[in-house]
């Protein structure tokens, strides 16, 4: 992978950390875990343009990881990176959880209340089929989020109706607010479950490796339009890139204090310029 993308990964981490620190709220853990995915998706995989729905579309279901989403969109040119400083503040388009309500470029749907994005993504995929448009829909969901029943209605629907122009990625970090998914409500063998729902299941062992994410997303593209919906189980490390945040659910929804921020930023020196 190019050095540029490595730099973008580090800069995105800095954006996330600074955004949540500035308002002492937000969700750094899951955001940091998905940086490599977002950077790859928006810079190497999707053909995207907010104003053109015949291009690829991304739907974020686990809306609480909005910091990584906003940073990625801003650094892809959807809006000025300066606007990242308004995150979670009054009168901002960058709400705590993402919404299209205030016409933020790049965001097509509101999410935050969990378990709804998969259905929405399938709906977009159906509209693309009606338009004979060959572009793809990408959806990201959390793993804990799959405890919501609506997902299973949606999984069932997509395979039963051969919705094969959708690539769903599950951020498989094994953590949720109250602890590990295994302890809170074990989602069991997700691969077998989804295979039995007749989805094509791919796996990424290291979802924090740009190479692995790129390789598997490409494999997913190759498997699309073949009669089956595609899902990727992407193992990530919550809090990745900041040593004291890694491997724990404790940073799910907690912002670093001044000292912790300094330490975290030291581990991720400025590359492309802070907002």
């Amino acid at each position: 992978m190019s050095r540029n993308l490595d730099n973008l990964v580090i800069q995105t981490r800095r954006d996330i950390l600074r955004m949540v620190h500035a308002v002492n709220s937000g969700h750094p853990g899951g955001s940091l875990g998905c940086v490599e995915f977002f950077v790859t998706l928006y810079n190497k995989i999707m053909k995207h343009d907010h104003d053109n729905f015949s291009n690829d579309i991304f739907i974020l279901s686990n809306g609480h990881i909005s910091p990584v989403y906003y940073s990625t969109l801003a650094r892809a040119g959807y809006f000025d990176i300066k606007e990242l400083s308004t995150f979670r503040k009054i009168n901002s388009r960058l709400q705590g959880h993402p919404t299209n309500h205030d016409n933020l470029p790049g965001v097509n749907i509101s999410s935050g209340s969990l378990g709804q994005g998969l259905s929405v993504g399938i709906g977009v995929a159906l509209s693309k089929k009606l338009n004979n448009d060959n572009s793809l829909v990408y959806v990201l969901t959390g793993d804990g989020e799959l405890q919501e029943g609506q997902n299973w209605e949606a999984f069932m629907y997509a395979s039963a109706n051969n919705v094969d122009n959708i690539i769903v990625t599950v951020d498989f970090n094994g953590q949720q607010i109250d602890g590990s998914t295994e302890d809170v409500l074990d989602i069991g063998n997700l691969k077998l479950k989804l295979e039995s729902f007749n989805w094509k299941v791919l796996e990424i062992e290291n979802g924090n490796s740009l190479e692995d994410v790129y390789k598997t997303l490409n494999e997913a593209k190759d498997n699309s339009m073949k009669g089956k919906p595609v899902v990727i189980l992407m193992k990530t490390i919550m809090g990745n890139g900041v040593d004291f945040m890694m491997h724990s659910h404790k940073w799910h929804g907690v912002a670093p204090n001044d000292e912790q921020l300094k330490e975290a930023l030291n581990q991720n020196p400025e590359t492309l310029g802070d907002y």
Binding site: S119, V120, I122, L130, N131, M156
Partner: protein, 319 residues
């Protein structure tokens, strides 16, 4: 008193079915989704004529609302169809986040509203849906009164950009409005001019209001009757103009008095023109099994209740 002629009893849901069929023939962006109640919602013709634009989602209403939001994101005009109960309470958060807050152009079409679905009982009836839906910012709420009006409303909401809740019913009821009338969202219809009392009614209660008015007229009372098919946005102008003339008002609906049309009217009156009001509706109760007529009678949703409410409110009028 103006005469209203029943052109023959018909169900409002069939008006929806015919409207949807017409839309299917004239607008290729219209898509329809149904959660295993295609026959009950009278969506069969649309489904037969447009199989690629009809989505049978199974018994999975939450997913249906999400699919509709996604289809709207892709530029389609989705019409969802299921019972009113399963169109609102069951999927409130999906509608709230993925449709209302997201400004999606989805038409939520809900049959079997109120108690008049009859024998299935309270699990399938709903008397709270107008309240649920009118509280959502940006949601338009419509409750049509007969077959003709439901058909024209179905066609008209397609031309309107934004989320709409369209509520109609199961039983065959009087069909008395002019089939050529164009439906105007947010514009109440003055059915009869009068001076003594204003009756604002919605849905199945509009015909009951007309029946009550005929009896009132025979007893020397001249009521003004307004068909409020759009509960949100409410046609405040027509109500205020009327009540300033008559000095009192009765609201009538097949819905809980908590959260329905009557409450919207009361809010309007208390802030702009505090005249006495009586409410015809259900009083904080669930329904039960029975025939539609038995239920309407038991829960006070008929011409007699409207008649009595008029008598009561007129006593409270300023002398």
């Amino acid at each position: 008193m103006k005469k209203f002629i029943n052109q023959g009893n018909k169900d409002t849901r069939s008006g929806f079915g015919e409207g949807l069929t017409e839309l299917g023939r004239n607008n290729s962006d219209v898509v329809a989704l149904c959660a295993d109640l295609t026959g009950s919602l009278k969506m069969n013709t649309f489904a037969d004529e447009n199989p690629e634009r009809f989505f049978q989602v199974g018994i999975a209403e939450a997913n249906m609302m999400g699919l509709a939001a996604g289809l709207a994101t892709g530029g389609k005009i989705p019409f969802t169809g299921t019972f009113a109960n399963f169109s609102t309470g069951r999927v409130y958060d999906q509608i709230r986040q993925s449709i209302a807050y997201s400004n999606k152009n989805v038409k939520i079409c809900a049959s079997h509203a109120g108690v008049t679905l009859g024998e299935d009982g309270a699990t399938h009836q709903i008397l709270e849906d107008i309240g649920l839906m009118k509280m959502l910012p940006g949601m338009t709420v419509i409750n049509t009164c007969d077959f003709n009006q439901t058909k024209s409303a179905t066609i008209e909401i397609c031309n309107f950009e934004g989320p709409v809740y369209l509520r109609f019913g199961r039983p065959k009821v009087a069909n008395f409005t002019n089939p050529l009338d164009k439906f105007q969202i947010g514009k109440g219809i003055l059915l009869n001019e009068g001076n003594d009392v204003t009756i604002v009614a919605t849905g199945h209660l509009v015909w009951e209001a007309i029946q009550a008015a005929e009896k009132l007229y025979e007893n020397g009372i001249n009521p003004e009757i307004i068909n409020i098919h759009t509960i949100k946005p409410l046609d405040e102008k027509i109500i205020l103009k009327s009540v300033k003339k008559t000095g009192c008002i009765v609201s009538a609906e097949e819905h809980n008095i908590f959260g329905g049309l009557g409450e919207s009217v009361a809010r309007l009156l208390t802030s702009k023109a505090p005249y006495p009001q009586e409410f015809v509706g259900t009083n904080d109760t669930f329904g039960e099994s029975g025939t539609p007529t038995e239920l309407m009678n038991k829960y006070g949703l008929n011409m007699d209740s409207i008649y009595d409410a008029v008598m009561n409110v007129m006593k409270r009028k300023a002398k």
